[in-house]
């Protein structure tokens, strides 16, 4: 089947990007050196085409937000009622009835609707899941394939975006806050552990935005560096670090579950309460390799509390060693051994993130 293309596809090709199949989309893996792209984001600013993401608007059939909010309070384990003003956003998970993660999303409260940004790999599942539960509510669930999405990330990202576009309001946004300007939505969110923005704009505007940012010194960054940036920041990747068989409590996402008010019956709540009471058997945590070598997904982790498995692993350019996320027995802590190509290598269990506020979090 032909891969789907974003409005920026031709620009990626003309920049010489190595393109890959990512969840059925043709996306840039790297434009040149993946490690240099990683460092560019940590040091200054980079931009990512993330137009493959699934964007879903949820609004009341007759205008307004009330029914949409009621639906999302049932669908998302975090509580969108905590978004007390338009422009506020939160991160959360959609759960199935067993408490397994259907997807992880950012939900934005906008003036006349909620906007949910979900993964590309889960598109069909999430759309059918939302539509199924929406049947009980007077809401419209509408995918927005007309919108492109560009992330601008790094310590200089906001400043360079404002200089390139004139959208000075972006500089005043708090973390997890968004503004709308005509057909654009500009949010202070991201997936790199750096300050930055995610811009949702009509596909027809994407190429001009990309080119203006490039002229303003923002470097194009591929999915290779995107993965090492998010891993260093301790951010989960859906389908790797979590899926429908793992709960938020087993995925280092307990903090995204809004337990109060008690009467809010979000999907998966009963299963999650039971797991919380009994204590989950496994947890998702971090690992740093203390020798040369690269930990990769699927490798075994031996700990004093039993064996686990690496769910994401890579060489971390900002840390100079390999780090990983791993699902291990709940009691695991301290030293571990990872089998790298048949050879046991020493590693340390660490709480992610590995990188925060411009610095490493461990020695």
């Amino acid at each position: 089947m032909a891969l789907r293309r974003t409005p920026l596809h031709a620009l990626h090709r003309s920049a010489g990007a190595v393109m890959i199949d990512f969840a059925g989309w043709s996306m840039p893996l790297r434009y040149g050196s993946q490690i240099e792209e990683h460092h560019a984001v940590r040091a200054d600013a980079g931009m990512f085409d993330v137009s493959h993401m699934t964007i879903i608007d949820v609004r009341d059939a007759r205008g307004g937000n009330g029914h949409a909010q009621a639906l999302l309070r049932q669908l998302i384990a975090n509580d969108v009622a905590r978004l007390d003003a338009p422009g506020k956003a939160l991160y959360g998970t959609l759960l199935n009835e067993s408490g397994g993660i259907v997807d992880d999303v950012i939900a934005y409260r906008l003036q006349d609707r909620f906007r949910v940004v979900a993964n590309a790999s889960t598109r069909e599942r999430v759309l059918s899941w939302c539509t199924r539960w929406a049947a009980d509510f007077a809401v419209a669930v509408e995918e927005r394939p007309d919108l492109a999405m560009v992330a601008i990330q790094g310590p200089a990202a906001v400043q360079r975006f404002v200089a390139a576009t004139g959208h000075s309001g972006a500089a005043a946004l708090q973390r997890f806050q968004a503004l709308t300007a005509d057909t654009w939505m500009i949010a202070r969110t991201g997936y790199t552990g750096e300050d930055g923005l995610e811009v949702l704009a009509p596909g027809a505007d994407a190429a001009a935005l990309w080119q203006r940012l490039a002229e303003g010194g923002v470097r194009p960054i591929g999915f290779g560096a995107r993965d090492t940036l998010r891993l260093e920041a301790g951010l989960n990747l859906y389908g790797h670090d979590m899926d429908e068989t793992t709960s938020p409590l087993e995925s280092n996402l307990g903090w995204t579950v809004a337990w109060t008010p008690k009467e809010r019956a979000f999907i998966g709540r009963d299963a999650l309460e039971a797991q919380r009471g009994a204590k989950p058997a496994a947890k998702l945590t971090g690992l740093a390799l203390t020798q040369r070598g690269v930990m990769r997904r699927g490798m075994r982790v031996a700990t004093a509390a039993g064996d686990g498995v690496i769910t994401s692993g890579a060489f971390a350019p900002s840390l100079g060693c390999s780090v990983a996320l791993a699902r291990v027995p709940r009691g695991a802590a301290g030293d571990a051994q990872v089998t790298v190509r048949g050879e046991p290598k020493p590693a340390r269990l660490l709480r992610p993130p590995f990188w925060r506020d411009g610095a490493r979090t461990f020695e």
Partner: protein
């Protein structure tokens, strides 16, 4: 693809071999190989004085993409290592035919070099490999 050095011999597994005047065979990986691997982050070299056999695993390259075995192009004894790769693995990407060399072998049977590909045969080999990958369209 960039011009391939004509004086080198190439293995289908993307190593190059250069017979020096002193009879040693210097080994590295091709520009095509480093481009496919992406940034190299570690190189695990064989031991000095280790015996290696043609087409057998003798080193490992860890790149941002994957770990890859490096096969000795000829049999013999390892007589030199490129120690610079320990601190600067990026040399493999930046200068694959020069400062990014891996190790040198004292060959036990120099005629094995004749079993390798010359530049034009190796170039064809890479082109057909690229096509098997779906060409450069979304490969």
């Amino acid at each position: 693809m960039n011009e391939l050095p004509g004086e080198l011999a190439y293995a289908p597994t993307h190593e190059w071999a250069r017979l020096d005047d002193d009879g040693r065979v210097v080994v590295g990986i091709s520009d095509y190989a480093q481009e496919q691997l992406g940034d190299v982050v570690y190189v695990e070299l064989p031991e000095l004085d280790q015996d290696v056999a043609a087409a057998e695993e003798s080193a490992v390259v860890e790149s941002v993409k994957a770990a890859s075995d490096i096969y000795a192009p000829v049999s013999g004894t390892v007589v030199a290592l490129n120690d610079a790769l320990a601190d600067a693995p990026e040399l493999v990407n930046e200068d694959p035919y020069g400062r990014g060399w891996f190790f040198a072998i004292e060959p036990s049977d120099p005629s094995q070099l004749e079993d390798l590909l010359d530049a034009s045969a190796y170039s064809e080999h890479c082109e057909s490999a690229a096509q098997d990958d779906g060409g450069d369209e979304d490969a």
